[in-house]
């Protein structure tokens, strides 16, 4: 029997980036807030110390910072005809664990979604007609617009200290920035990163071809910065150990550097680590949450009553928490009904390698997680899709986030995968290869979804989440189209050889793509096709808010974190201004 604890105003499940933001804002508003984090505490000092923190074997290969698959895995299959099996080692995506969550090991790539993204179905149908979209795609509008979110994007970027160059200031296109971006009310808080040499070569070629290159917006500090919370960050020194690692220099925007120290100083907030939340508890009508039940490190169960439950446990962990708690109707792919687990999407990336002769030194190790140079000409709805028969797109970015020895060894096509010739080839090409990442959109389909696995369970005896996913035909066409264009840029970059790798089905969990899993608890304006209203409030239990990329109805071709932060601030603002005054559904269904 779970021990019942003293009631609090708010319980936040998961203390990562979004959990920290929600908790900080609500505790500052005077509410008593408990943060439950399944992992351990960790701080820049003393936990993140070089040279140990640069241990590639521990962090990149053995995934030292990721969710422990021996306790909590997930199962995977490509389609409903297959039997799903547990993922025993993370590779395609890398969900973080411990205090700060995935916000500790991210790269710092900080893109806003565009005006079109938030009204995606409307926009596509207006531009190309109702019959243009593949009928198997379940794309939809978000229920919130870019204009509404702009102040919150701005707030989040200033929290992070993002460095970049505006391309569109209040509707005016700015030289040097991304002309395709949606308007922003002011400049980035910091200047852009230094360009890598590969980026310089890319910029030249892309400009000659009439495209619009710009430096990637980055939350690796480009100069010393004090954020609006009063926390000081140091300048990045381009060591090339961002993603999969923690920054030892206070130079990457992470919960630890931009918000947690402020949150923990607030006496209204209490952090409990190694607290594994098992479910959200509901009242007898199943219309209101009464709190959560969690297990501590010894397995003892506690019931934490709360008036407000905020779930911020990473995209598909959010889906699992909703399913385990029985909030919202689970999605059924046969009927297309139900909302929890619906519209799961991911990312469709491609790669292009540009091989130079030995006179061109790329120096891949002089890099940060977000120091790329890119074009947005083939992303989003920035070009006419009419002749091509697909929707969405990719940015094309000359980017090397690292030159780490175990992971980075590009070789031209035709090189053997092992042995003497392979060794000679990696020695020859290591410092003379540029890389283009194509970071493409992912459209939801009726058959890609998340549900509870009927067979496999976690260390607490609860069913694992089951992922059913493969690349939709739309996205396969998209990635091929974008890679073809990127290869042309590569040829223009003065290479000896260019190799393009579009993403091809079947999707495999054993090849890295991105940790940008989205959907499953999506936001929207219709309770039949969304689990949350426009404020990330559950349609079914009004005192449950689910913050995360689980809210995205589909995933555009940009990295998701900036939009995640904007939505969190947007949601918590609505909680503070509306919900707390009159608890109940903020949108009538």
């Amino acid at each position: 029997m779970a021990q019942k604890l003293k009631s609090v105003d708010v319980v936040v499940v998961g203390v990562g980036f979004m959990g920290a933001i929600m908790a900080k804002e609500l505790a500052a508003a005077g509410l008593t807030v408990v943060g439950l984090e399944r992992g351990k505490k960790r701080w820049t000092v003393p936990e993140f110390q070089s040279p140990e923190i640069h241990d590639e074997l521990k962090y990149s290969i053995r995934k030292g910072m990721m969710q422990d698959v021996t306790r909590e895995a997930m199962t995977f299959r490509n389609n409903s005809r297959q039997e799903a099996l547990p993922i025993r080692q993370w590779e395609a995506f890398l969900p973080g664990s411990d205090l700060g969550g995935s916000g500790v090991h991210w790269n710092g790539q900080t893109f806003r979604f565009t005006e079109a993204d938030f009204v995606w179905r409307t926009r596509i149908e207006e531009r190309y007609g109702k019959d243009f979209v593949d009928p198997t795609l379940t794309i939809q509008d978000w229920g919130v617009t870019y204009d509404e979110l702009e102040p919150y994007f701005d707030k989040f970027e200033h929290l992070l200290g993002t460095g970049g160059k505006a391309g569109n200031l209040n509707g005016k296109i700015q030289p040097g920035g991304n002309p395709f971006e949606s308007w922003r009310s002011r400049e980035y808080p910091n200047p852009p990163m230094k360009e890598q040499y590969g980026g310089v070569l890319f910029r030249k070629a892309a400009t000659e071809m009439g495209y619009h290159p710009f430096v990637q917006p980055s939350s690796n500090m480009t100069r010393p910065y004090t954020n609006p919370e009063g926390l000081q960050l140091n300048a990045c020194n381009y060591c090339g150990f961002c993603e999969r690692y923690a920054c030892e220099h206070f130079a990457k925007a992470t919960p630890q550097t931009v918000i947690l120290p402020v949150l923990l100083k607030n006496p209204h907030f209490e952090l409990r680590t190694e607290a594994q939340v098992l479910r959200v508890n509901l009242d007898s009508h199943k219309k209101r949450a009464t709190g959560v039940t969690y297990a501590d490190a010894t397995g003892r169960e506690f019931e934490q009553p709360a008036d407000l439950v905020i779930i911020t446990t990473y995209a598909w962990n959010n889906v699992r928490m909703m399913l385990l708690s029985g909030i919202g109707k689970p999605y059924d792919p046969k009927t297309g009904e139900g909302v929890i687990g619906r519209n799961y999407a991911y990312q469709t990336t491609g790669d292009v390698y540009v091989f130079y002769d030995e006179s061109v030194n790329i120096n891949p190790f002089m890099a940060a997680g977000a120091s790329g140079t890119l074009i947005d000409d083939f992303n989003d709805d920035n070009f006419d899709h009419g002749p091509h028969g697909f929707i969405g797109g990719s940015y094309i970015m000359s980017a090397l986030t690292n030159g780490r020895p175990i992971e980075f060894h590009p070789t031209p096509p035709g090189t053997p995968d092992w042995g003497k010739e392979w060794k000679a080839a990696i020695r020859r090409h290591y410092n003379h290869t540029a890389h283009m990442l194509l970071h493409g959109s992912s459209m939801p389909t009726r058959t890609n979804y998340l549900d509870l696995d009927p067979t496999y369970r976690d260390a607490w005896g609860l069913p694992l989440l089951r992922m059913t996913f493969d690349f939709p035909e739309n996205d396969v066409k998209m990635t091929q189209f974008c890679v073809d264009h990127a290869v042309e840029i590569g040829k223009r970059m003065g290479a000896k050889a260019v190799a393009g790798y579009p993403r091809k089905p079947p999707f495999t969990t054993q090849k890295y793509q991105t940790t940008h899993n989205t959907g499953g608890v999506v936001m929207g304006s219709d309770p039949n096709t969304s689990a949350l209203n426009r404020y990330l409030q559950s349609w079914d239990a009004h005192n449950v808010f689910v913050v995360g990329a689980s809210a995205y109805p589909q995933n555009p071709g940009y990295n998701p974190t900036d939009t995640l932060g904007a939505l969190a601030y947007w949601s918590v603002d609505a909680i503070k201004k509306q919900y707390l005054k009159k608890p109940g559904p903020m949108v009538s269904a």
């Binding site: 820049t44 480009t222 000081q232 030892e248």
Partner: protein, 235 residues
Amino acid sequence: MKLNRWMLILTVALSTAGFLLTRSFAAESPKALRGDPLRGGEIVARGTDYGVVACARCHAFDGTADGSSAFPKLSGISSYYLAKQLRDFASGLRTDAIMSAIARKMKAEDIADVSEYYSGVSGTPTPAPPAAQHLLALGARLATVGDDEKKVQACEGCHGAAGRGEDPAIPSLAGQYAGYIGFQMRMWKMGYRKNDANQQMANIARRLSPQDIEAIGAYFERLPRKDSAKDKRRP
């Protein structure tokens, strides 16, 4: 048959030699910037007739300087770093009452040669003046772990394990005079020195107390200085 075998061996030997030759040229292509240590040694000993003062007067022949801690040790530091500092003194990016005037008189090849000379010498160990235990403990903590409250990362995160530097861009601090380290930290802190990338050192120094700075100097002075001539890791 016998001839063929010899031909074969000769061919292999020649092509191996050719291969090695090519490889070493490839590896040495950045060395176009590399100075001549012998000529550098002459400048160190005698100065030049156009007014460059003999470096050894203050820094000694083995780069250990005079023990006063007014002048830094130069042994164990990369030629890249030394040359950059001399160029910065000459351009005014870094200023010093003595060094600015000297560096302005140096030609590009003088800078390259002198830097090459000092990067290759072996210094002489010097005794560190006594320091309180608590100061050494504080220095060790700041140098190896950092300070979460002040948002100061560990010095050794950039300056290398045991302060041995990350050649070529980041200098070794091990065995450097505490007085000199402290002086430079105060220069960064007060804004007189700012010739590093991204204001990294100024940003750190501003957050350190006078005691922190003293402690860091005391800690590093006690570490064995890197011996350039013997250190095989030197590029």
